[in-house]
Symmetry: C2
Subunit: 164 residues, 2 copies
């Protein structure tokens, strides 16, 4: 059972360790593999409209997600979300639980739709999961992601209407 | 003949008047129609990697464009650009001249591709122009723009490779 609750600053060391490992792998997030802790804190805590964490039954933080408007003003009804899961907690449905939670949370914040701007096409597990959760591939950005092992690969834009 | 040169702070009053009118119309840019001058300055001058202006033969500033990385790190080889033209200078090829200039400028800054994230689908003149200049529609975002007259309308993602 995954508990999802708002982020607190005391969660940061664990969240940063997850982000650091995720960014370093260079295969799913655009954030530089050399991102500093301060840059990551700004991107994950200061800039987003909301940051949440997912906890395992023993209370350990094993994942985190952010929500923010994807565009200002007249595009601000569409939100953007990002999710990370600790390497040793993959495959337990935590990303799915966070994505479901983030959709409800986005609706409660007044967002009408959710957009992912840069889903790495080679991240097949993520693409499959977002599709299962109701997202559609609405665009393909040719060679828009510089994968650390594979070089330039396509990235997908995925989208889901949350409300009329 | 349109001269295009780097923005200087003395250009700001004119650039702001163009931006203000553009944002107020609420039919092409996501920026709120109620954007303040400080918000516009941040978005157009402080955040971008480069800001340029287009001048008419008599030296008057009649347009402006910005360039910035569209994503951090591993997506940072794709740039994003935005263009505005004064209402009384439309139809003179100024947007086309700025777009051509911005592509050369982007290449000189090391970018490999250019992406427009939110081309309002009802802005047919812009869509036609970007296509003529080599951009392709790579995605359609359903109802992603809240048009001030037409309500929710689709927005397009357009993309052009600038270099191998």
């Amino acid at each position: 059972m995954t508990l999802i609750r708002p982020f607190q600053e005391t969660d940061w060391p664990t969240v940063w360790s997850i982000l650091h490992a995720t960014f370093q792998s260079g295969d799913t997030y655009a954030n530089s593999p050399h991102s500093t802790e301060a840059e990551a804190h700004q991107a994950w805590v200061e800039l987003p409209a909301a940051t949440f964490v997912a906890c395992s039954p023993d209370g350990r933080v094993v994942g985190s997600y952010i929500l923010k408007p994807n565009q200002p003003g007249l595009g601000g009804h569409v939100c953007n979300a990002g999710y990370v899961v600790a390497a040793d907690a993959q495959g337990q449905g935590i990303a799915a639980a966070m994505c479901e939670h983030s959709q409800a949370q986005a609706l409660s914040m007044g967002f009408l739709a959710m957009q992912f701007n840069l889903v790495v096409s080679t991240n097949e597990r993520a693409v499959r999961l977002w599709k299962r959760l109701g997202f559609t591939v609405v665009g393909t950005l040719p060679r828009a992601f510089r994968h650390q092992r594979l070089g330039f690969v396509d990235a997908l834009v995925m989208f889901k209407q949350l409300a009329g």
